[in-house]
């Protein structure tokens, strides 16, 4: 071997290497910066989507928390309300309130005479206004025979106009409100008779075909009942299942199958659970369609894998030394688990459970399958009554063509998101508060 020659070749090459590396540097550094910029752009894009989504929904939603009301001077004319002079409560419920309202309206616009026009005039009021008036009179029966200024909800088209969500500049033919109607409304505004007030209706009532009367109370109750069933069933079963698999199950093929199966179930599309619910709970067991009971059962099966997986990892994080300590002083395996391991794993399990519940709360696809999409006006009062849930309500409203439902859909979304954020916040708090490092 000629060492001498090799040596010189190497040192020459050293210089050459150095030059080559240097020569390539600017290009490589530029590439580096570009790559880094792509990364940043992608994150900004992701966060941008989030901002746009929230901004979009909030901007649509905020106006739904207000509703336009009209101030009407209503004369509670006894000859209309109680023509037979019976003076009992029954008459107050069956009285002809629309007639009272019509009179008050024409008192405001005495120049309107023609039938068709009169109908449009009365259309300024919400179709729920008579009921509001009835409720008002029932609360203040002393007003019978007197005249009183009452604030009543207006029709959704008027509401949209007041909220400037109807474009006045488009041609009359393409508008839901004609020029003469707009003139009336402008006059009412000028008289200070139209006012935007907090929309109690939205939180107090069930669904309705009329946007100004529709509320989320029914959907909220439905969600509550459904989630109640889910929690009552999935918590004990999920925790028990996690305990068995983590602490007691012999490690054999069966356990492997169960494990693979659970991981798999966690990734099965939610709509398939809906098909299961339809075929098994409704068609086979004959449980009532559209009911929170069935909804809760379906969501239970859907959330179980989430709870089991979270539960197992919580149990796994409890160090074996604790088990050995308890077993060492003669506790049975069951006692060890329930007295020592479970309390330590509980916060982690709860965190997983809350996250699972939050997911169940936002779920809608499987509930469509079991008929929780029906149009239901009544607020449900039990587990077996037909009802809907908040996300499905959102779906239903999103499908309606009325302009007034857009803002209500967004508002309902905001309420749903508020619940979800609270639940996830709680989960994060729990995790932070009870997090333990061994």
């Amino acid at each position: 071997m000629s060492n001498q020659k090799e040596d010189s070749k190497y040192s020459n090459q050293g210089i050459r290497t150095h030059q080559l590396v240097k020569a390539g540097l600017p290009r490589r550094r530029a590439k580096e910066n570009r790559f880094k910029a792509y990364g940043l752009i992608c994150i900004v894009a992701g966060l941008g989507f989030l901002v746009i989504l929230f901004g979009n929904i909030i901007s649509h939603a905020w106006s739904a928390f207000e509703q336009t009301y009209i101030a009407l001077d209503v004369t509670f004319d006894e000859s209309i309300i109680d023509p037979e002079g019976r003076h009992d409560l029954e008459t107050l419920t069956t009285a002809d309130y629309p007639a009272l309202l019509k009179k008050s309206m024409s008192a405001l616009f005495p120049e309107v005479k023609e039938r068709q026009q009169k109908r449009s005039l009365n259309g300024i009021l919400s179709s729920g206004a008579p009921y509001e008036l009835q409720r008002f009179l029932q609360q203040h029966p002393a007003l019978l025979g007197k005249t009183e200024r009452v604030w009543l909800p207006v029709d959704d088209d008027v509401d949209m106009l007041v909220k400037s969500q109807i474009d006045r500049t488009v041609g009359e033919a393409d508008r839901r409100l004609k020029d003469f109607q707009i003139a009336w409304i402008d006059k009412l505004i000028a008289d200070g008779r139209l006012e935007k007030r907090f929309n109690k209706q939205f939180f107090a009532s069930g669904d309705s075909r009329e946007p100004e009367l529709a509320g989320i109370r029914g959907a909220l109750m439905g969600s509550l009942f459904t989630l109640l069933v889910t929690a009552v069933l999935s918590l004990p079963v999920g925790v028990a299942s996690a305990i068995y698999l983590e602490e007691f199950a012999p490690s054999n093929r069966w356990t492997d199958i169960i494990e693979v199966n659970i991981n798999n179930l966690a990734a099965v599309p939610s709509i398939v659970f809906g098909l299961l619910g339809l075929a098994v709970f409704i068609n086979f067991f004959g449980l009532p369609r559209s009911s929170p009971l069935v909804g809760g059962l379906v969501l239970t099966l859907m959330t179980l894998p989430v709870i089991i997986i979270a539960g197992r990892s919580a149990l796994k994080s409890v160090p074996p030394s604790i088990r050995e300590a308890a077993l060492g002083i003669g506790a049975s395996q069951m006692q060890t688990v329930f007295h020592h391991v479970l309390p330590l794993a509980m916060p982690g399990m709860l965190t997983g459970a809350i996250i699972g519940m939050a997911r169940a709360l936002g779920e809608s696809a499987p509930l469509l399958m079991i008929g929780m999409v029906a149009f239901i006006v009544d607020v449900p009062g039990s587990l077996t009554e037909p009802s809907t849930v908040l996300p499905v309500q959102i779906y239903l409203w999103a499908d309606s063509s009325e302009r007034g439902f857009v803002e209500r859909t967004s508002a309902a979304i905001l309420v749903l998101l508020a619940f979800l954020i609270t639940m996830n916040g709680l989960a994060i708090y729990l995790r932070k508060r009870y997090e333990r490092r061994w």
Partner: protein, 458 residues
């Protein structure tokens, strides 16, 4: 008595039984707990279990058999011509009677009046009988358990055994769920394929499931070729992945390799919010904002974009699955051992060279697994496509046109009036079967790859 009230009552009885058992064991111990095999509270649990479980079992059996038995006896009371009806019609009749009872059917038909009365009586009777039997069972169980308590009685072992059965049973529910899914979808699918040949379903290019509701109506016979649905699903999912994979992967890389701790701790949870937003919200966003926006944008370029374009649905779905890709990729990138990065840095590689040529190839199996999971998510996603994609089963690869998907069709076929035997309804289950199988394969593959990958670096 309502069944929930009954359940509550049974629970109260078992609390009482707990005390009975505990006191009994203390009597038997004669003041020295040492005399007992187990602690007194175990005798309490033992007694409570005996009070509760048999009664609960009775309750469940009753619930299972109550309505068939009642329905059968109601049918028996009907006139001869009703009893000879086909099973389907009998079912309708029973439904009528039930609806009359609950008052939701308006006027009761005169010929059913007697049956309705009878049904009401039966229901009341059944309820009282059940309540009586269940409560007796509870007390009998309690006294039986109490009589068994002796000094050497191994109450703890028996209680623990029962608990063990409960634990085991709970873990089997997951299996039962899978079996339930498979059976229910398979069963109805087989019935579907009895009417429509499998080959037509899998390879037919025409999908229009509108079938005449009544047999005498003249209408299209309905076509059940699902290929347009498959291609539609694939089109929208591909768009979603094309959006989500680069953005998710690059975000994960930036967060894992470049971002400062502070930035990471803010940006990562914020990105993950995207995964927590209910899909119905995305659907609303897609239909209300994104689709019109894309349509408008297309119009500016002289393109005719459908208002239910695959692009809008796919785009929004892509946004939804960004965090899936990014958080899984993030995990896997972090799992690549630092020593590999050190090896590349020590050779003089820049950070991006290290990432692209060493870290990503090393993390690739995991990332691929994550992408497969995201794909399965996209295929099974329902609300976004129901709200933003169309119903028209177009066989096209043009993202600006409207397409429909498997999940959309399942929803449309099953929501609203349904007849349980029509191919239209059954088709939904056949589509469900395809969906289940497709996602199953993807999931198993993904989970397998991910697990292999985790083992490699553990």
């Amino acid at each position: 008595m309502q069944k929930s009230t009954l359940l509550l009552l049974l629970l109260l009885i078992s609390v009482y039984a707990f005390h009975v058992g505990q006191k009994r064991s203390q009597e038997i111990a004669q003041g020295k707990i040492k005399n007992l095999h187990s602690l007194p509270k175990y005798y309490g649990y033992y007694t409570a279990l005996w009070a509760f479980l048999p009664a609960l079992l009775l309750l469940f059996i009753w619930l299972g058999f109550e309505s068939p038995v009642i329905n059968h006896s109601v049918i028996e009371t009907l006139p001869e011509e009703s009893r000879s009806l086909s099973n389907d019609l009998k079912g309708l009749l029973i439904n009528d009677i039930h609806n009359s009872l609950s008052g939701s059917a308006g006027e009761t038909k005169p010929e059913l009046k007697a049956a309705v009365e009878y049904l009401r009586d039966l229901k009341i009777w059944s309820n009282w009988l059940l309540s009586f039997l269940a409560v007796s069972f509870a007390f009998m169980g309690m006294y039986f358990a109490r009589s068994r308590i002796r000094q050497g009685h191994r109450a703890r072992n028996q209680v623990e055994k029962t608990v063990m059965w409960f634990l085991l049973g709970s873990s089997l529910i997951a299996i039962l769920t899978t079996v339930g899914i498979v059976l229910s979808v398979l069963f109805e699918s087989i019935r579907f394929f009895g009417k429509i040949p499998l080959s037509e379903f899998l390879f037919g290019l025409q999908w229009s499931p509108q079938i005449a509701m009544r047999s005498d109506q003249v209408a299209s016979a309905g076509a059940f070729g699902a290929v347009p649905l498959f291609t539609g699903t694939l089109l929208i999912s591909s768009i979603a992945l094309i959006v989500a994979v680069p953005i998710g992967l690059m975000s994960a890389i930036y967060l894992a390799e470049y971002a400062s701790l502070g930035f990471r701790s803010v940006a990562k949870p914020l990105l993950e919010i995207l995964a927590g937003i209910p899909t119905v919200v995305y659907g609303f966003f897609a239909a209300l904002t994104v689709a019109p926006f894309i349509r408008g944008l297309g119009a500016d370029f002289g393109l005719d974009v459908s208002s239910e374009s695959a692009l809008a649905a796919g785009l929004v779905m892509g946004i939804m699955i960004i965090p899936f890709v990014s958080s899984l990729s993030d995990d896997f990138i972090n799992a690549v051992p630092q020593s590999l990065r050190d090896g590349a840095y020590a050779l003089g590689a820049t950070q991006s060279e290290t990432i692209r040529q060493v870290v990503i190839p090393a993390a690739l199996p995991g990332i691929v697994g994550g992408i497969l999971l995201a794909a399965s998510r996209a295929i099974g996603e329902t609300m976004i496509v129901v709200m933003a994609a169309g119903l028209a089963a177009n066989l096209t690869a043009n993202p600006l046109e409207a397409v429909t998907t498997v999940t959309t069709q399942i929803v449309t076929l099953l929501v609203g009036d349904q007849e349980f035997d029509s191919p239209k309804t059954l088709a939904a289950f056949a589509l469900g079967l395809v969906l289940f199988l497709a996602t199953l394969v993807l999931n198993i593959l993904a989970l397998h790859i991910v697990r292999k990958y985790r083992e490699q670096y553990e």
